[in-house]
Amino acid sequence: MSTRLANSGRLIDRSKPVEFKFNGKRFKGYEGDTLASALFANDQMMVGRSFKYHRPRGVVASGAEEPNALFNMGEGGRFEPNQRATTQELFDGLTIRSQNHWPSLEFDIGAVNQLFARWLPAGFYYKMFIHPRPFWKHVYEPFIRQSAGLGQVPQEKDADTYEHFYYFCDVLVVGGGIAGLAAALKEGQAGKKVLLLEQTADFGGRAVVDGVEIDGKSAEAWVQDTLAALNAMPNVTVRNRNMASGVYDHGYVLGYERLTDHLSDKSGPRHRLWRIRAGHIITATGAIERPLSFAGNDIPGVLLAAAVRDYVVNWGVSVGDRTVVVTNNDDAYRTAIILKNAGLAVPAIIDARASGAGPIAAEVEKLGIRVLKGKAIAKVKGKTRVTGVKVCLQAGEGSVIEEIACDCVAMSGGWSPVVHLWSHCGGKLNWDEDLAMFRPDPSRAPTGADGKAFVSTVGSASGYLSTADVLKDAGLEVTTNEVAAAPLEPVWLMPQGAGPKLRMKAWLDYQNDVKVSDVQLAAREGYESVEHTKRYTTLGMATDQGKLSNINGLAILSKSLDASIPNVGTTTFRPPYTPISMGAITGAARDELFQPIHKTPMFDWHDANGADWEPVGHWRRTYAYVRNGETVHDAVNREILNVRENVGTLDASTLGKIIVKGPDAGKFLDMLYTNMMSTLGVGKCRYGLMCNENGFLSDDGVVVRLAEDTWLCHTTTGGADRIHGWMEDWLQCEWWDWKVYTANVTEQFAQIAVAGPKARQLLEKLGGNMDLSKEGFPFMTYVEGKLGEFDARIFRISFSGELSYEVSVPASQGAALWAALQEAGKDLGVMPYGTEAMHILRAEKGFIMIGDETDGTIIPQDLNLQWAISKKKEDYLGKRAQERSFMASPDRWKLVGLETLDGSVIPDGSYVPAPGYNPNGQRNVQGRVTSTYYSPTLKRGIAMGLVKHGPDRMGEVIEFNREDGTMVKAKIVDPVFYDKDGEKQNV
């Protein structure tokens, strides 16, 4: 029976009882309990079933290392699987369900798996996947699926909120045990800005549980005094329930702060992810006790020895009335003493060492506890809870000497320093033969940009186990009441000669059901690397990441390989230390804050008028304005015809606008564009192409000369930031002595394209002081002045082939101008048009679109844009690349127009197959479609495409493939389908 003791329990408040629900049953606990301690108090020994064999499992540990006690916690929007009972603080109303069983925890069908355990060893899945083939679908997959996964997946949206917080400090101390407290105090007194993080609610770590006296005062008092001193220092910040989950390069650390997990009141952020930059990181992360590998070491009631005394001292619960301690070191004797002093029975201490313990043995003897030296546990008796142990010689094969009845086994196989954070950025470890542990090697620390260590360890994390040594490592010389310990004896298997039957029941990894026999099998099958063995057996791959199993597993592996432990090495330690919530990683970035959506000044109007949105980069642009009863396609066609017949308005505010100014601006633009910009007259506009150094088209747009030394470069919507960066890159890194300044003024202006035969009429209706006549305002020029009451700059440019103006006003006036145009244009039939109409209008005119006709492998010559490439210029970016033989080859695919014979629309992405196959067995191709639309103007499908020798094949009919395997015939034509002579735009 596990039960609540009458007295003890330093962390619980017996005046504050709380209720929680386990599998629908109401349980009672106290404030200060963890879920695990409360379950023990309610005699709930069995907490779940194991992953593979569905064996009954109980709590093993008392902290973050716990592999078994994982629960589906909460309900609805607060449901979360795999919550660890040992780190979850109890609160009123908490609800949990055990995992991985059906139909119930007590009667589980999957438990038959353990009867087949002989046939389910490591590598079973890998081997059995293959033969015979049909078995996969009908036998293996259903079986594996049924046994896959521990917890359930949440079904509802997370009801909680999360946030991030950036923090900077000189020194980050991780761990609020005595080592961390001492280290923080020392650094704080040195005037450093210190942040101390403790993952639990409580400070002091093991020292307070073990009842150590430091310089004559109790560890508890020492901790309280030190904490008070730290809290009094303005340069020290102390945070509990905040776990340093990972150490990254440049002193970057993530802290996982749990704000409401321990409260009934869930208001406010649940978790806060601290994004810390620390000058130096001190890990005072302590050590984790190792289990011993004996048969039945996974039966509920077998716990780590230190955990057993944690439950008594911290939470006032006993795991059992009769506890057998089994150990290879002196530390576990403390458990016997504490249990005995709490009035509980300790029938025996089974010490694997023939010589037994050091001076602590005398204390135990005084309490009348029997010590069996050189002995081992052959087997634990019991099914869903421990009923006794069979004792044997450690040196033998497991012949039973005697049986001892008990309901708890407290085991200790020694201690492993928590080296995770030390190792995340490459800190190396040394194997300490005497203590049988990996210890951080200070001479091979993780190093920062200056080549110096940016992480150091202190206390048990360094491998010091006595209080005096721990504090000495932290810079404090103290005297304690601890006696010297006798050496530990490494015990990796109990008894050392255990046969196959026992080894098959000796668990290494509880959560993933990996046994001693599995690791030995892996070694026999040739898995010599610890990383391979890990993956083959799944050792250490569960949510606890092998905190208990790794060292034992690799010791078994090294023995099987006849290699030394340091030669086998450890697996890689990776963040996070324990799992952190997805919500914490997301922070505030959810719902409307998930991603910044860039909105133009006219966004609200579009949204209120049927906008079907299209993401263009981070912008939202209107694809089409859909009216009642229309499909999106209907709307697009209507908008196009209206531009051709009346007048339309397009929100072009997203186009990039970059000012380039200076004495060398002309020279600079001549280098950036393929055509000549330095000769452009003031007040004039010119379409330009930009290529990268490799000759490929990168961006295009209209360049305007605003003044003698000032140009305004329009870029594509997606290109604004990129091209501005591109310009600055060349100016700052290559041509740093050229006198040019740039400014990205994209968002300063709202820009509206007004296009259609009635465009001039519409603008003239608004009035103002500008001459908008054909003669006074010719094509490819701009004017500046008042358009009505708006401060406007108007460019007479056309991307639709119609009479067209682009009106640019300060962004603040954009919404008003848009509304004014709709109002003034009512009797002219004005309609807004979206990006799809714009695309089709330009395709009807044979204008190329960056991203459609280009894909990063296309040069201007491929698109017959030789007219936009200056032959006079000595150089421009991409010129030399375009002269390379492959680029100049007449065999490159070139742009042509395409007209289907049946008037249908060629599917997007279609290719033109050519006879034969390439060396990869793929069909040869001779062209592909780049833009393809239904043209409402021409009432047929039109397309542009790149075709081998295309311009020389005018009139030829070629075939494009369709997804259904059929072909569509299309005639090669001139890409300009509409108004070839440009009369419409020039009225």
């Binding site: 505030a588 003024v745 603040s812 008003a816």
Partner: protein, 187 residues
Amino acid sequence: MSNAVSALNGKTATGPVTVQELGLTGMVTLRGDFEDEGFAAAVTQLTGLQIPDVRQFQTDGVKTVLWMSPDELLVVLPYTEVNAFVTAMNDALAGSHYLVANVSDARAIFSVSGEFATEVLGKNAPVDFEASQFVAGMVRRSRVGQVAAAYWKLDDGSFRVVCFRSVAEYVFGLIATSATAGPVGVY
């Protein structure tokens, strides 16, 4: 001018930390050689303020000159004065190599004030806002959440935050959400 509306038209979220969009505000980008006497003289003459040191700003309460980069300043001034200022600057610097651009409409500007305003910014910006590190008179160009932003600290401990106009709603939402979530308790 009645047609002109700022990005969020003065939207405000009031609380222990208040976030307010400041409406139409004049902002002018100035690029030039800070070492050049003519440039420095023009800045001082037209703003009444010195060119600030690296990551600093100068202000008289009406006009503010902020260091943006080794060759870029941001001048913040009343919206109605921008056109005259740009013209005067062009006149003063005519013949030299410089750039003046009105960016008032390209931006949104916010005030973030209140007891834990510093922590609210600290939730969203990778900057050390410790009082001894980020003092009044300092400006940083960095980011807020996922977008570019600049922020500076005034004598009363409040902050100004500037971002692009198109993401004003995002920035306002992020800061207001962080304010509602409450203090961290370290500053």
